[in-house]
């Protein structure tokens, strides 16, 4: 066991609650309040993973969501395991089990590590360049790449966790629980505004809450104590909601934001039971305050990626907040004053700070004076040229920088250390600001992109370090001043605080620090997760990539799970330096949501399984269930597909049902067909305009089939419409087209023909429809409604009568989609099951056979009736369907009419609907199969099969197809080439059965 790296004094870790966890199978202990990262560091474990390309050992580098290296697999349950979890964010809980990713067979011995020695062979764009040729080798390359690369493993079983969605409306949303967010939320809530404060940590206070040095004072209290009191007061305000462990993923226009609230990820398995794991908040805020803070930048120098190299501010948090020493002998490397704060914290905790290397020639501030008083050595104007140590840093080489910062001079000094803190300054977290449409400006003196106040979308403001204020007095004073204007506040208590802090006076920035070796022999890492180096960026530029978006993709800089939160600024800086461009002109790459990854569970919420989509069932559904129907999904509807008896296959059932319907009687639940009630004095004129045929002369009580086109002349929908009264029609549409037809008709009525007095009402759900067909259908109807005159004179084909079954009103239509004598009964849906059962009862003596959609399709195909959406696909005109008879030639206009004689629609070689018979009557074609004339290459595709069945009534295979110039090809032989045979077919008429329509009146 290593030395105890936990110091005993701090407020945030509960050392009375010991927690056991496992990392790579090894049992370890931490305390309540730890993250996995802080607990690992307390156990002296730095090496946690391997880098993506070179498989170099990598350690914990940060303490937050910007972590590029310490990403782990949590848990091994195949349903619950979670890949790519940042060890710096996950809170420790009893029984936590985590594993390193991207290493095989283990993090300590990783075969992929050999890539490190091959690295001269793996430059930027290596994958693009190498694996492109020969193309046939890809499968072999892929095996190698998939095995050795890749991040975590996906769960292999369905997620058992519960997820939720919640809509949130508030006056003010404050994003960020640091000091500027807390002040903003307090000012807002105290004004009485309904305020929500979102904080991605488990605790409020940001980095100020552990800033305990007396250099930083507010009203004579150290800043951490002052803030602690503010938070206590804040929690008491009733109109403020605080959401901890919540991270905003996306900031869209009109102040619409998505945030993920973690509810149980910090709990042990038994505490999680029955609880919602994560909640996706869909927030609409009147005003938004962005207080997302800043993250520290690394420095880019040779071998800057070894385990033990940590951001300086993270070392401070580990010591001051978690009470964990990240090493016994720590050096710091910086270009700004914040590493001095870390040195002070370490010094107070008794950790030896070996040396501070500062690239600045001078650094005079309250902080630097305190450091020098403490006797800590500062090398000013120096840089690190190399580091050593494979699985943990053990030494650094330091040399003096030339005046211009381009070279190193003098001799090399080597320092031993087991941890190196690095600080390259600060990057404001402007992701959400830019996502919402804000534009950035570049501030030259400290090289930061900050929100441009003139290009900020309205009703939002950025404050604190996310707005580029890095020092305590600026953060507080500017936040208070700007929030006062933003929220229209009166004078408040925070305007005249007495704030003491150190002020940084000198700045120096070098994006790529020089070494005593040529750059080609160094490894200055930019993107730690994707292993892209400064060399790669320079190579991309040499190879002609100019746009930063292209350089990013070519080198994969910023494309890891951390989305380049650490690396992007340096990549931009190096591009700007190399190309001699000003960074402000260069701009940034686009920040896209999500800011931190979302789980799929949070995205879909409860919309899984049976809640994924609505299921529509007809009023007769229970009868179908009782009678063992197999169902087919048609849109959201469940429709009976066929009714198997005694273990029949679908084929056997359909053959039986089809024969029964033609020989005696069949019954179909047709309730899913769309039904639109049309009323108004211009209803007839309206139908004239929307259907291709004429409607004004249709008598009351008569039905007519209509074809509806799009304005481009292509068939859109079809169905029978019945004239119920002078100004009253009922239109039926296809099942799938119902909603779209209604919308389309409404569109024309409201926008093109507002002068028409017509009202449309959907009544699909209100009425149920059962269709009874076959030679005995008339007898069955006569049994149910004895009073109804069913003679052909009184009730001919294509007519309708109002009637009653007991006291229930019903509409009986004599219409047919099978070619048989048939009736449709329409009743109010709540009586439908009863009426259906009466039909079944009355039909018993005629062996009435319930049939489903498959038999319906077969019967209509025997008659050559089309199904829109199956035989049509939006590219067929009525003429293509051989339905010229339905075009009202005398009508001046209807939707789509003008398109029917465009040069393209009158072509004779369009695909046209035909019938097909196979030479072998037993051979049933596959729907979708291609039709060709000869097998000589190149093969000309003439068309395809749209519908195909074995007809029991004709005892042969029949099919419908669309074929180029098909109308002229009756009798022509074609070939349907299949995988293992060629099927010979002959083009025929589309009507296969009862061409004379004798059965309609049988």
């Amino acid at each position: 066991m290593s030395n105890n790296l936990r110091i005993n004094k701090n407020n945030f870790i509960d050392q009375t609650v010991r927690i056991s966890f496992k990392f790579n199978g090894r049992r370890l202990f931490g305390y309540k309040g730890d993250t996995l990262a802080s607990a690992l560091l307390a156990n002296n474990i730095h090496l946690v993973g391997r880098s993506f390309k070179y498989h170099r050992p990598r350690g914990i580098m940060t303490c937050g969501s910007e972590e590029p290296n310490a990403i782990v697999q949590v848990g091994k349950d195949p349903a619950l395991t979670d890949p790519n979890v940042r060890a710096t964010e996950i809170e420790l809980y009893e029984g936590l089990e985590a594993f390193s990713q991207n290493c095989w067979p283990s993090v300590n011995f990783d075969i992929g590590g050999i890539n490190n020695f091959l690295s001269p062979l793996l430059p930027a764009g290596f994958y693009y360049k190498t694996f492109m040729w020969p193309a046939s080798f890809w499968e072999k390359y892929e095996f190698f790449i998939r095995h050795s690369a890749g991040l975590g493993k996906s769960p292999t079983k369905p997620d058992q966790d519960l997820y939720d969605h919640q809509y949130v409306h508030c006056d003010v949303l404050v994003i960020g629980g640091g000091i500027s967010g807390i002040l903003s939320a307090k000012l807002s809530a105290e004004k009485g505004l309904n305020t929500m404060l979102i904080n991605d940590k488990s605790h409020l206070g940001g980095s100020t809450i552990y800033q305990n040095d007396d250099i930083f004072k507010i009203n004579n209290e150290t800043s951490n104590l002052w803030l602690k009191n503010q938070i206590e007061e804040l929690k008491k305000i009733p109109n403020l909601t605080i959401k901890n462990r919540t991270s905003v993923a996306a900031f869209h226009g009109y102040n619409y934001l998505l945030a993920r609230e973690n509810l149980t990820d910090h709990l042990s398995a038994h505490e999680r039971k029955e609880k919602i794991r994560q909640r996706l908040l869909k927030i609409r805020a009147k005003k938004v305050v962005i207080a997302t803070g800043a993250i520290e930048r690394p420095l880019i120098f040779n071998n800057n990626d070894r385990p033990g190299i940590i951001l300086s501010s993270s070392i401070k948090k580990y010591i001051d907040y978690y009470g964990v020493k990240t090493g016994e002998s720590i050096s710091l490397f910086t270009n700004n004053d914040s590493a001095y704060e870390t040195a002070i914290s370490l010094n107070k905790s008794g950790v030896k700070v070996k040396v501070i290397i500062d690239i600045r020639e001078n650094s005079n501030s309250i902080l630097s004076e305190k450091i020098e008083k403490a006797g800590i050595k500062i090398l000013k104007g120096y840089t690190i040229t190399n580091t050593d140590g494979y699985k943990r840093i053990n030494s650094i080489d330091v040399m003096k920088l030339s005046k211009d910062g381009e070279n190193v001079i003098g001799s090399k000094i080597t320092y031993k250390c087991d941890c190196l803190g690095i600080s390259g300054g600060w990057t404001p977290m402007v992701h959400l600001f830019t996502q919402s449409g804000g534009k950035l400006k570049f501030r030259n003196n400290d090289n930061v992109f900050i929100p441009d106040e003139n290009k900020t979308p309205s009703e939002q403001i950025s404050v604190g370090s996310s707005n580029g204020d890095f020092e305590l007095d600026d953060v507080i004073n500017n936040t208070v001043k700007n929030i006062k204007v933003f929220l229209g506040l009166d004078k408040n208590n925070y305007e005249n605080l007495d704030i003491k802090c150190s002020k940084e006076k000198q700045k120096r920035n070098i994006w790529l620090l020089p070494s005593n070796k040529p750059i080609s022999r160094t490894k200055p890492f930019l993107d730690f997760q994707n292993d892209s180096t400064a060399k790669d960026v320079k190579l991309a530029l040499r190879e002609g990539f100019k746009s930063i978006e292209h350089v990013k993709r070519y080198t994969t800089t910023g494309m890891g799970t951390d989305q380049g939160k650490l690396s992007n600024m340096h990549a931009l800086g190096i591009i700007a330096d190399t190309t001699g461009t000003n960074m402000g002109e260069l701009g940034t790459t686009t920040f896209r949501p999500p800011y931190t990854p979302l789980t799929f569970g949070a995205i879909v919420g409860r919309n899984v399984g049976e809640f994924f989509d609505h299921t529509r069932r007809t009023a007769i559904h229970d009868w179908h269930l009782e009678n063992k129907a197999e169902f087919e999904n048609v849109g959201q509807w469940k429709r009976p597909w066929y009714f198997p008896k005694n273990g029949e296959t679908m084929y056997q059932a359909v053959q039986r049902e089809s024969k029964a319907a033609r020989e005696s009687a069949g019954i179909l639940d047709a309730s899913t067909l769309g039904k639109i009630d049309i009323q108004g004095e211009d209803a007839s004129e309206f139908l004239n305009r929307v259907y291709t045929n004429a409607w004004s002369k249709l008598a009351i009580g008569k039905c007519r089939y209509g074809l509806m086109l799009n304005e481009d002349g292509m068939v859109y929908d079809d169905g029978v419409t019945t004239r119920l009264g002078e100004n009253h029609y009922i239109m039926t549409t296809t099942t799938g087209g119902a909603a779209n037809v209604l919308s389309k008709l409404e569109d024309y009525l409201q926008t093109e023909w507002p002068e028409l007095n017509v009202y449309l009402t959907t009544v699909t759900d209100q009425y149920s429809t059962m269709s009874i067909c076959g030679p005995n259908s008339k007898k069955i109807i006569a049994k149910i409604i004895p009073s109804l005159d069913l003679s052909d004179e009184s009730f001919p084909h294509m007519s309708f009568k109002n009637s009653k079954i007991d006291n229930v009103n019903c509409r009986i239509m004599r219409i047919s989609f099978t070619g048989e004598h048939s009736y449709e009964i329409n009743v109010q849906s709540n009586y439908a099951k009863d009426v259906w059962e009466r039909c079944i009862e009355a039909g018993k003596e005629f062996n009435i056979t319930p049939y489903g959609t498959e038999t319906m399709h077969l019967l209509r195909a025997e008659k050559g009736f089309i199904i829109t959406g199956q035989d049509t696909d939006g590219t067929l005109t009525p003429s293509d369907l051989q339905m010229d008879w339905i075009i009202g030639k005398k009508k001046y206009d209807f939707i789509g009419k003008r398109s029917l004689y465009r040069s393209d629609t009158i072509r004779e070689d369009r695909k046209q609907l035909v019938g097909l018979l196979t030479d072998d009557p037993k051979e049933v074609l596959e729907e979708g199969a291609q039709l060709v004339e000869s097998l000589e290459k190149p093969i000309d595709m003439l068309g395809h099969v749209t519908s195909s069945y074995f007809s029991p009534n004709l005892n042969k295979s029949i099919a419908l197809a669309v074929v180029r110039s098909g109308k002229k090809l009756k009798g022509k032989k074609l070939i349907v080439p299949m995988k293992n045979k060629n099927i010979n077919v002959t083009i025929t008429d589309t009507v296969f059965y009862d061409k004379e329509n004798k059965r309609l009146n049988a």
Binding site: G253, Y254, R284, R898, R902
Partner: protein, 91 residues
Amino acid sequence: MFIINCPYCGERDQTEFSCGGEAHIERPKQPTELSDDQWAEYLFMRKNIKGIQFERWNHIHGCRKWFNVVRDTSNDKIHAVYKMGERPPVK
């Protein structure tokens, strides 16, 4: 996701609406008088402006009314909403 002020219902979330493309394209009164090119112009040709665009929207999951919206496609700012048949506001 923006908010649209339906002239019949008031402000509602964008998810309640569907967009019907460019506004103020009138269906020709006498299509039969038009050449193929003229008909094609009506049928197929639509603008795709970066900036101020006049659009048709339908409150499909609300009152089902069609109306017009003046929207800046570069930032989704809605400058005006007006009923079908009303004159577009002068820019």
